[in-house]
């Protein structure tokens, strides 16, 4: 039993540390402040300004596509480096989210924004359920299953001729206005980006990192690892589904190519190039890669070769680590 004075003494000792852990920065120089805020400022403002600066319609669309890929890269980076699950099939989330939103919109008649929201939530749940069986197993199985799901889904849709078969679902509403189209996606990207960053810095984020680095200790502390992995997968897949849903409303069409390999491979390449683990790096990586891939469009599917080969250097370097 601690007495009043003992308690106060403890609090006095702890106070200095508490202040820092709770993120209140008391005495900070201007330089420290700038160091902290400037990079974030640049990113936020930079992204927000882009649509105003670029007038060419084609390139405006490219910005939206960059954001979509950036969302996928964010979700990959989060899962791979903060939870330890390597997802080789971002296209799976995109496809599920895209088709869901298409169905909600064209079959059930929900307005675009609502169907995007619905696709995000429901898609997150569906993807998590489909990935649930491989969560208790070794990481390899997750990689294999995520790689295969988009390939399977594309073939199943084609074979069963459901959901529009090879033609796809057409006549999907676009977002209310062109400006909205741009800023909605950019805004959500920023929201998710900073949201995940905050999550990673909380205690929950620490537990997720422990799931990655030291799962024995997490188990020995009485926590079910599968539950936490499922939680992380739910978030990551919801982000991916959101990206897919938005994509479908931009193009006003959903088809088998929504499960295209591009969506699986480019985010990984972008993460590798931009800096894995940082959560911002992948976004930057996309800013670089997507325009480049647009320029390479003439080369057709060779782009994928390019992405895949660009993963190469870092894999070799990682080997020495």
């Amino acid at each position: 039993m601690t007495t009043g004075t003992q308690q106060r003494r403890k609090e006095r000792i702890d106070r200095g540390i508490k202040v820092r852990t709770e993120g209140i920065y008391a005495l900070m120089s201007w330089r420290e402040l700038a160091y902290l805020i400037l990079p974030r400022f640049v990113i936020i403002v930079g992204l927000l300004i882009l649509p105003l600066v670029i007038f060419d319609m084609y390139w405006q669309r490219v910005i939206s596509i960059v954001c979509i890929y950036a969302l996928l890269a964010l979700s990959f980076d989060f899962l791979a480096h903060h939870v330890g699950l390597v997802s080789l099939g971002g296209a799976f989330f995109v496809g599920v989210g895209g088709y869901l939103s298409a169905v909600l919109n064209s079959v059930f008649g929900f307005p675009a924004l609502l169907s995007i929201a619905g696709a995000t939530v429901i898609g997150g749940i569906i993807c998590t359920l489909l990935l649930l069986p491989c969560l208790p197993l070794r990481g390899v199985y997750f990689a294999i299953v995520t790689l295969m799901y988009p390939l399977f889904m594309a073939r199943v849709i084609e074979a069963l001729d459901i959901l529009g078969g090879t033609d796809g679902i057409m006549g999907i509403d676009s977002l209310p206005s062109a400006w909205m189209e741009q800023y909605f996606i950019i805004g959500m990207l920023l929201l998710f980006l900073f949201g995940i960053r905050r999550l990673v810095n909380t205690d929950l984020g620490l537990v997720l990192r422990a799931v990655k680095d030291n799962d024995q200790a997490v188990r020995a502390s009485g926590m079910n690892i599968t539950t936490y992995k499922a939680f992380a997968v739910c978030i990551a897949s919801a982000i991916g589904c959101f990206a897919g849903a938005s994509l479908v409303h931009i193009y006003m069409w959903a088809g088998i190519s929504t499960f295209a390999l591009d969506f699986s491979v480019l985010p990984i390449a972008a993460t590798v190039i931009g800096g894995s683990g940082t959560l911002v790096g992948p976004v930057i990586g996309c800013l670089i890669l997507v325009p480049v891939s647009e320029l390479l469009r003439d080369f057709g599917t060779l782009r994928i070769v390019f992405y895949s080969l660009s993963c190469w250097p870092s894999l070799s370097f990682a080997a020495r680590g």
Binding site: V140, A143, V145, M148, L160, D215, L302, V305, S308, C311
Partner: protein
């Protein structure tokens, strides 16, 4: 009766696809996601040899198998050796190579449905009232012979036993003087030639399309997961289970359900017996 025949043919086809993958994984623990790409590559090599270089049929086939085996070994020797042991990197790397090969072929002009390989034997026989191509019968025959040969090879010859030893316990094998890197290259070469062999048998039944690279890959993995990663016997057994399941669904529900069957097989296996039919339980836990 026709279910029996078609089922057997389908199962043998699946087994042929999967054995190459199972072999490489079983011996060197390398998940070779370039397996499907090598399958298609060998098809195009044979086609090119036959139609562009004008080499005779049999020689083209042998050439394709040999070249593919070399390509596989080279891939291992120059790329994969550095990331040995890190399974997820191996998956990404082999998958990247697969994409490079497949999309490279597509870009290089090998698109469309016009590429075919002639069957080895023309004509068909009638079994139990069903007309079956000789090529398909040949496939079953070669498949059975292959399984028998593999069994003998890994149980009776020195190299075969060495490979089996490596499959069971790599460190022990190392201590006995078996060089695991050399064995891994050999395994990769063998696996690639198996991919090529199955391509030579099965491609004449249809066209050579880049898409089938992906199909072969996912079917091989499905079979290996159901059978247990690393177990050759399991792969064969799983091939028959999935093969017959596919044919049964095709008969009673419609032929488009075949892919669904493969997908369901994977999901059900992971839920109920994740290590597969003959897999070992220890495959599952994270080794910390």
């Amino acid at each position: 009766m026709d279910i029996l025949i078609y089922g057997t043919i389908n199962s043998v086809a699946l087994a042929l696809y999967a054995l190459g993958f199972a072999l490489v994984y079983g011996i060197s623990r390398l998940p070779n996601f370039a397996h499907g790409a090598l399958y298609v590559l060998s098809g195009f090599i044979a086609w090119s040899a036959l139609n562009i270089l004008g080499i005779n049929h049999l020689l083209s086939i042998l050439l394709a198998i040999a070249v593919t085996a070399i390509v596989g070994s080279v891939i291992y020797q120059f790329f994969l050796i550095r990331i040995r042991g890190m399974e997820i990197s191996e998956i990404i790397a082999t998958y990247a190579i697969a994409l490079a090969i497949l999309e490279g072929l597509r870009w290089g002009g090998f698109k469309g449905m016009t590429y075919t390989l002639p069957p080895f034997i023309e004509g068909s026989a009638t079994i139990g009232g069903i007309s079956v191509d000789y090529q398909r019968l040949l496939t079953v025959g070669v498949g059975a012979a292959l399984v028998a040969f593999l069994w003998l090879f890994t149980h009776k010859t020195r190299i075969g036993l060495a490979l089996r030893g490596m499959a069971q316990d790599e460190r022990a094998a190392l201590m006995l003087g078996i060089d695991s890197d050399v064995m891994a290259v050999v395994a990769m070469g063998l696996g690639s030639s198996l991919a090529a062999l199955s391509a030579m048998l099965l491609l004449p039944l249809g066209n050579i399309v880049v898409e089938s690279g992906y199909n072969v890959l996912i079917l091989s993995i499905a079979v290996c997961i159901v059978g247990g990663l690393g177990s050759w016997a399991g792969a064969v057994l799983a091939a028959f289970i999935i093969g017959f399941a596919q044919i049964l669904t095709a008969v009673y529900l419609g032929s488009h359900y075949q892919m669904v069957v493969a997908l369901l097989a994977i999901i059900l296996t992971l839920i109920f017996k994740p290590s597969g039919i003959f897999g070992q339980q220890k495959e599952l836990e994270e080794r910390v």
